[in-house]
């Protein structure tokens, strides 16, 4: 079993600007689902809180969800209890696999498996398990680190050359993902900086196969396919578990064409630049689709600038507060 990561020790979750943009655009889309008969405030939330519980706080405040379960399998029981922001959050210590059988098909759920490690076999089992339990109209979101990295506790790759590491990664990925992807994983696939298309295909196909097996006429109606990097490249895939009728209802409301919704394999790039307060204000005053890096008074990559223009409303502003 993979070991719990302690990435929360390295940075404050809420300070990652692209991640924060992701949470906010997800909220925007989820709120709009009510027009298609999915009132998100009636849902229960299931996720990994970490000691900051950022998603829990935001989903309670902005989606009005007040039935929440937090799964934590790290060895930080006291910190998790101590930091729990609201009494109604139910904290479940232990692995997700232990909790999956408790998922009720009757309760509409928003589940966000927000992993901080790259896709592996165990996560695919989690995805399989959750997809096999979720009831109709539940929303299922999976986030994964998109780098082609194998778990350190299972693979000792430190002494290996780059070529050997890539070959082992390719072979392992072929073993893990061959039943989900159309063509075999190659050295070229795993030598890049990220394998988001591979993980996207595997996650989607895993969910699809599980839903088909249930033979209840359920399908995965994709809403999110986001890609960003606050440091590590990350991939988020999410959607509604619904019937053909639900798909039509969503289509009729126009949600599927919303600019923050991605129903295809082409991800929405949501990486935003870290900006100083002065830079942010300067940009905000001049926001315009014609703004180019040449017109700026400071250096900024063209793609990041475009993304800032697109997501300035969701861009988080941080100031030090002396508490």
């Amino acid at each position: 079993m993979a070991k719990p990561s302690d990435s929360f020790k390295q940075f404050d979750y809420s300070l990652r600007p692209s991640k924060q943009v992701e949470r906010k655009i997800m909220i925007e889309v989820l709120l709009r689902l009510s027009t298609a008969g999915c009132d998100i405030s009636e849902y229960a939330y299931l996720g990994f809180g970490s000691v900051y519980y950022v998603d829990f706080i935001m989903f309670h405040k902005y989606l009005f969800i007040d039935t929440m379960t937090c799964i934590e399998w790290g060895d930080v029981a006291k910190r998790m209890r101590f930091n729990k922001p609201f009494k109604f959050i139910e904290l479940k210590l232990g692995s997700l696999s232990k909790h999956i059988p408790r998922i009720s098909r009757q309760q509409k759920l928003l589940v966000w498996l927000d992993y901080d490690r790259p896709l592996d076999e165990e996560m695919l089992q989690d995805i399989d398990g959750v997809s096999s339990r979720l009831g109709r109209k539940s929303i299922f979101v999976v986030t994964t680190d998109a780098r082609p990295k194998l778990p350190k506790d299972l693979f000792d790759l430190e002494a290996k050359s780059l070529a050997q590491r890539e070959a082992i990664t390719r072979d392992t990925y072929n073993g893990w993902f061959n039943q989900y992807v159309a063509s075999p994983v190659t050295r070229t696939t795993v030598s890049g900086t990220h394998v988001a298309p591979l993980f996207y295909e595997a996650i989607l196909e895993r969910i699809r196969q599980t839903l088909t097996r249930r033979s209840e006429g359920l399908q995965f109606i994709q809403l999110f396919n986001y890609f960003y990097a606050d440091g590590a490249p990350m991939l988020t895939v999410g959607g509604l578990i619904g019937t053909d009728e639900d798909r039509k209802a969503l289509g009729a409301t126009g949600i599927l064409a919303h600019e923050m919704v991605r129903t295809s394999a082409e991800p929405l790039q949501i990486s935003v630049p870290p900006l100083t307060v002065r830079e942010k204000h300067w940009l905000d005053q001049r926001l315009d689709s014609k703004l180019t890096p040449a017109k700026l008074r400071f250096e900024l990559d063209d793609r990041l600038l475009k993304n800032y223009v697109k997501f300035y409303k969701e861009y988080p502003a941080y100031m030090e507060a002396l508490l």
Binding site: I100, W176, T210, R214
Partner: protein
């Protein structure tokens, strides 16, 4: 291009009549002899269920004790003949006339409990075994005999009947059936002469009908009673098996899983039953999902994984069994849904076994304590509980519990260390402790 001649006859039909050779020579190829004999035993048990309304899995699911089955099924064979005799209620003249010799059950047949599904097993078994068949049966009020001379029957391709030798009233206290087959096929005769075949068949009977044998049914094979062979789950305080009963489309599905006792050295896996009859035995293959859907391949560390799945229905056609009953209809939606639950519920058990046999033995001491303390529990007891998940409650170890560390380094390097610290007589394991403490004192204190 010449145009096709216009179709003159508008009522053309293609022939699709059955051929007797298909039943006699083809269908029998796909089935092992031992499985055919189980088919005949299934028929006897089916009569028993119909006659006395006995349902062993109903009792298992309810956790109640089944009414004692008093019947005996006696199977015997030699290289010259095969016999199966039972006192399971027998077949009525009407059923023999209209039903049990049909090739395939009519689809509109009313739903029925028991073990008979497809209406093929008994005839297939006859043809697999030999050419001269006598089928005698009696109920409490009448008796009958049907004889089948397979060669003669094959010579009359249009005749799809088997004549009665007699069919008459007769009063007896208990009904039963007696089948005798002679003129055995040479391969069958060879197998019937082999001790190994006898042993294999006995094993299969002991497992396939374990629930029925436990409920009191006797199955004798060449004069010896088969004993139920049934692995049990182990539990201790803090280690409890999962139990889940659900109902899907008229089929009850009972899943029980956990670990087998530490003394049980047989690699287990999944045991799948339909109406009490075992259809998958200690399965470790893709049939029960091992190695599929990102589930692990069965591995020696999972030897103690033990799972039971019982499908039960009043309508046998809803159950996910194949015509040979030694497999499962994997495409069936009922089975697919059960499979999904089997893995969702079973995964914490595999997690436990993974932890139990992790890389560092000392780290899994709490798991080993639980496992060692676990004792076999009867299935009835687990089945009789309310639904519950697999439970592992580990005693948390104190942080200062010693853990041993083992590793290898070259003699040359160890010698160099000895020289560096000026202790030439120090043992290698002491060097290990010394260097560990050296690092700890400087970096962690």
């Amino acid at each position: 291009m010449p145009t096709a001649a216009p179709l003159v006859e508008t009522h053309l039909t293609a022939r699709a009549d059955p051929s007797k050779a298909f039943f006699v020579e083809m269908l029998t190829r796909d089935i092992a002899l031992s499985v055919c004999i189980l088919d005949l035993i299934d028929n006897s048990i089916h009569s028993l269920i119909a006659e006395f309304d006995l349902d062993v899995s109903e009792h298992l699911i309810a956790g109640t004790k089944a009414q004692k089955m008093k019947a005996v099924i006696d199977v015997s064979f030699s290289p010259h003949e095969f016999k199966i005799e039972d006192n399971c209620g027998g077949v009525s003249i009407a059923d023999a006339k209209e039903k049990i010799f049909l090739f395939g059950n009519p689809v509109n047949d009313k739903s029925e409990a028991g073990l008979g599904v497809y209406g093929i097993g008994m005839k297939r078994a006859f043809f697999k075994i030999g050419k001269d068949i006598s089928f005698k049966s009696h109920t409490t009020t009448e008796e009958l005999e049907i004889k089948i001379d397979v060669d003669a029957w094959l010579e009359k391709p249009q005749d799809w009947t088997f004549p009665f030798e007699y069919a008459r009233p007769k009063k007896t206290s208990v009904g039963g059936t007696h089948i005798e087959i002679k003129a055995l096929h040479s391969i069958t005769s060879e197998q019937f002469g082999s001790k190994a075949f006898n042993a294999i068949l006995k094993d299969r009977i002991s497992r396939a009908y374990a629930l029925f044998l436990k409920a009191g049914l006797r199955i004798r094979l060449n004069g010896t009673d088969a004993q139920p062979d049934f692995p049990e789950l182990a539990e201790s305080k803090g280690l409890r098996a999962v139990r889940q009963l659900t109902k899907e489309d008229g089929v009850e599905i009972l899943i029980m899983a956990g670990v087998s006792p530490i003394a049980d050295k047989t690699p287990r896996g999944w045991y799948v039953f339909c109406n009490g009859r075992l259809v998958l035995d200690a399965d470790k293959t893709e049939k029960t999902g091992w190695g599929l859907d990102s589930h692990p391949i069965f591995h020696a560390k999972f030897n103690h994984f033990l799972g039971y799945v019982y499908f039960r229905s009043k309508d046998v056609r809803r159950l996910p069994w194949t015509t040979t009953k030694d497999g499962i209809d994997r495409e069936s939606p009922v089975y697919q849904r059960a499979l999904s639950d089997m893995w969702t519920l079973g995964r914490p058990i595999l997690d436990f076994l993974n932890d139990l046999y992790g890389d560092v033995r000392e780290e899994s001491e709490p798991e080993h304590d639980l496992f060692r303390a676990a004792k076999a529990v009867t299935l009835q007891k687990i089945a009789g509980r309310a639904n519950r998940l697999f439970e592992v409650k580990l005693k948390k170890e104190a942080d200062d519990t010693p853990v041993s560390i083992q590793y290898k380094r070259s003699k040359k390097k160890i010698k160099q260390i000895k020289e560096a610290i000026g202790r030439s007589s120090m043992s290698a394991s002491r060097i290990g402790e010394y260097t560990f403490d050296w690092f700890y004192d400087r970096n962690c204190k």
